[in-house]
Symmetry: C2
Subunit: 112 residues, 2 copies
Amino acid sequence: MELSNYSRIFKALSNEQRLKIFMMIYRDCCGIKGPKGIAEIKLGDESCCGVKGGIEKAFSKICDCMDLSRSTISHHFKELQNAGLITCEREGQTFRCHINEKTIKSIREFLG
Amino acid sequence: MELSNYSRIFKALSNEQRLKIFMMIYRDCCGIKGPKGIAEIKLGDESCCGVKGGIEKAFSKICDCMDLSRSTISHHFKELQNAGLITCEREGQTFRCHINEKTIKSIREFLG
DNA sequence: TTTAATGTTCGATGGTTAGCGAAATATAGA
DNA sequence: TCTATATTTCGCTAACCATCGAACATTAAA
């Protein structure tokens, strides 16, 4: 992976609110059991997406537990998508989103 | 480690030039053999800090191989320090810099 | 078909950042 | 002490970013 790709990924994770959104998706929305390092991160009481395997209504759920406007949250989702960290699709009224495992792998390999 | 610390680290690595500087220090200046993932990153011909274990004159060397003003590079060093990624000290006229292993460890643990 | 809910897009605003050159500071050596 | 070299700080500018509310688009349900 090119250096510029890495900087794009890190830029997406450089905003604390956006990182929080990403962590919620990563940890709770996609059924991935957070490994060490993630468990330590405090998201606060507002953690919301506890449905394992349930990526439905990710957007709404995150809206409900964050103190940001919907438009801002929509923007953050876009940024996470642009960085290749997540993919989102709309099925009817369900906003379905996935973690992009390939990108996660690249991050893991970044410093060995 | 707090979420805000992680976003600060990622912010420091979100600028491509700064990431490049960090990678040079990480890979070449501190005698750390880059693991997989780093080896793949192309820094271009300008890679300069080939002296293993030699962290001396890191600033000057990096200035020589990057197309940025010295003041800008100084600024980037400061940012890397603020994020806790590196520490720098001046010994006489030698600018000595180290990787902060603790922070590296945190990054590695971030996604498991 | 109206209504309610869910997301997106737009334009504005205030704050932050990357970059430069010039001036300042620090150190080593002549 | 003077000079050359190395690094930092300062002041500036242009670009970028986070955020909002309003307006719009889409879909489900009443």
